[in-house]
Symmetry: C2
């Protein structure tokens, strides 16, 4: 059983490396929850982009741009609907609700800020765009502020 002492956990062998259990668990939990919204964010952003530049966002186009099958896209769009982020009219495309639009806007801002920061640090644009597609979903408000601050004052 537990190597845990009766009273408290004083200190470990090696130099203070590991964070407290609760702290670490909270961090990982935050990451897991961000991961579960990442897909919704990408769909919302893409749909908004398509609506803006093409006037419509059809499941087939969404699927092609994401690099997944149309069946997969349709299922994910269903999840967006369930989450109250989108609506759809067959052969007429997908639309964003108020909530979906607000999400897309936040995501767009984040995406751009992350790309701009990476570019400012000397990352080539294609790598910056590719990395940002993942990074953007894990950047907190505080970090976002720091990015903006850095970009402004340099």
């Amino acid at each position: 059983m537990a190597r845990a002492p009766v009273t408290s956990e004083p200190d470990h062998s090696a130099a203070g490396k590991l964070p407290a259990e609760g702290t670490q668990a909270r961090r990982f939990g935050k990451t897991r929850s961000a991961q579960s919204t990442a897909l919704l964010e990408d769909y919302a952003e893409l749909i908004a982009d398509l609506l803006a530049s093409e006037g419509e966002a059809r499941p087939t186009d969404i699927a092609r741009r994401l690099g997944v099958s149309h069946a997969t896209a349709i299922k994910s769009i269903s999840r967006l609907k369930r989450a109250g982020l989108a609506t759809a009219r067959p052969y007429r495309g997908v639309f964003l609700t108020e909530k979906g639009h607000a999400l897309a806007e936040r995501v767009r801002v984040r995406h751009r800020l992350v790309v701009d920061l990476l570019r400012a640090l000397g990352v080539p644009s294609e790598a910056a765009e590719a990395d940002a597609e993942g990074i953007e979903h894990y950047v907190s408000e505080i970090t976002l502020k720091a990015f903006a601050q850095f970009l402004k004052s340099r």
Copy 2:
């Protein structure tokens, strides 16, 4: 049908906003593949940390630090074994293979670099640690180099 013209896709209505379909699909695909390895990376890193600081990495401890049930941790450890990254001896803990150790080392370096960069940009340490836990899995080699370069020359 396809609004796609017979020949080529010249230019869209709005200002050149969207990337080419293939490019965008490749970026999203890269992100999806990074996502699928994120969990393996976190486990490898955590196991290495526990082995270094506690001398052992038991499923229960791993589960507690990750904030998941022990059943979940055991299943994920199975995936690590299947991937040739870890081995385990019941009641004796989990161990990393050569390959697993190498992965943990790479992840540890990345984790630290990401945290250091965020800190350098003025992000408070707890936010930096929390965000890094997600970001680290989506940073390419090129971007990592840029981070290191920036940290060195500032």
